[in-house]
């Protein structure tokens, strides 16, 4: 046989092999895991989505892959819908569980996610991440946290902020800025106290020199009273915000700590 004819037979054979592979996969509805991994790693979002939409396979596994897709591209509500439809499969995948736990530890849907997986048998890494969530949900003074990444320090800050009562901060604001001292915002206290002192001195001065019913006195008094009463509501809101901030700060440090000791990959 001639050389060219052998080559053409080889090519035809290869083509037939490739065609049969592709058609068989479509017919059986198997998801090409390595192709999905490639799409995920290269962040080919559109192609990834199109592939998941087109592939014809069992509902359970397609929702499992969709859940992973939504998790990667941070579409939380869609992730939860897909997760609930493929819960059994998803909970068996330790990579996906770890990835999701690491993602949700600093997410607003943290509570929802950890409530979903709380009663399940979890892999070690997810279990460690869950510990941080539990520390937030039930503040515990006898905690045992690693000293690296200032975790203990941040948790103590959180505990301190958690013990503050916004109503007390509100009442302490009778003295301008004292409510801010109560929650540890010394810089806010200095600014508020100084500005309020200047405003009240200005009001008293104009009252003494011009009289009480003069426009400048009224304007000065308006400014003083506006800023003075804003201190009450400000201290109240700052106390609540401080709790959230210290909590998020602790969780961000926890996430950094987790990232430093474990490796995460979705596929």
């Amino acid at each position: 046989m001639e050389r060219s004819s052998i080559q053409s037979i080889k090519l035809t054979f290869l083509f037939l092999m490739l065609y049969s592979c592709l058609t068989t996969k479509e017919a059986l509805g198997q998801v090409d895991f390595f192709f999905l991994k490639h799409l995920s790693e290269n962040q080919l979002k559109k192609e990834h989505f199109t592939y998941l939409e087109k592939v014809n396979t069992s509902e359970d596994s397609i929702f499992y892959f969709k859940a992973k897709y939504y998790l990667q591209y941070e579409e939380d509500s869609l992730f939860f819908i897909a997760f609930k439809k493929s819960k059994i499969l998803f909970l068996k995948d330790s990579n996906a569980l770890n990835f999701a736990s690491r993602y949700f530890i600093v997410n607003e849907n943290r509570e929802l996610w950890f409530n979903e997986i709380d009663s399940m048998t979890l892999p070690k890494i997810t279990d460690n991440i869950l510990l941080f969530h539990k520390l937030i949900m039930k503040p515990n003074k006898n905690f045992d946290l690693p000293k690296s990444f200032k975790l203990s320090e941040k948790y103590l800050c959180y505990l301190k902020a958690e013990s503050k009562n916004p109503k007390i901060a509100f009442m302490l604001s009778v003295v301008p800025g004292l409510g801010e001292v109560y929650i540890g915002n010394w810089k806010s206290f200095l600014i508020k106290f100084t500005s309020q002192s200047i405003l009240i001195a200005q009001t008293l001065e104009s009252n003494r020199n011009l009289g009480p019913y003069k426009p400048l006195t009224i304007i000065n008094f308006g400014f003083f009273s506006g800023f003075y009463f804003s201190g009450f509501i400000g201290a109240y809101r700052d106390t609540i915000q401080k709790k959230k901030d210290t909590q998020n700060d602790f969780l961000f440090h926890a996430k950094n700590y987790i990232n430093s000791i474990y490796h995460f990959s979705l596929y």
Partner: protein
């Protein structure tokens, strides 16, 4: 006189040709310099700030008046004094949104509280995650 007129016309035409030829022989470096010099700076563009989000508003006339005043401040005074707020949502915008959400009294007081703390000195008081990439303090309206 006719000759003078013709000469002047020819002179102006020649100037035009010279200018055109100069324009066509501009080096790439010259073009680059011109482009850099006359390109508009995105930071210097005036921000377009809407009056309010009408969907969520109950159209209380007093609130509407206060928001209108804020709108006037933002689009006329603030631009003139080159106001630069330390917060991600500027003090005026924050006040406006809070007035819309909580009403005139509470909204104004919340806005005044932010205004009284609006200095660079206070920035170190906040956690790292409350500071955005532009160095501004993140202040969600909640």
């Amino acid at each position: 006189m006719k000759l003078l007129t013709i000469c002047s016309i020819l002179f102006y035409i020649s100037i035009g040709f010279v200018a055109l030829s100069q324009d066509s022989t501009k080096t790439t470096l010259q073009k680059l310099v011109i482009d850099v010099t006359f390109t508009t700076n995105p930071n210097s563009e005036q921000k377009v700030r809407p009056l309010m989000n009408i969907q969520n508003n109950r159209l209380n006339p007093i609130n509407f008046l206060a928001i209108g005043l804020m709108f006037f401040y933002q689009n006329v005074i603030s631009e003139q004094i080159s106001a630069n707020c330390m917060y991600e949502i500027s003090c005026s915008e924050y006040t406006k949104r809070n007035i819309q959400k909580y009403g005139l009294v509470k909204g104004t007081l919340i806005g005044l509280h932010q205004l009284s703390c609006c200095t660079s000195y206070i920035q170190s008081q906040y956690c790292e995650h409350r500071i955005n990439s532009n160095g501004k303090i993140i202040n969600p309206v909640n």
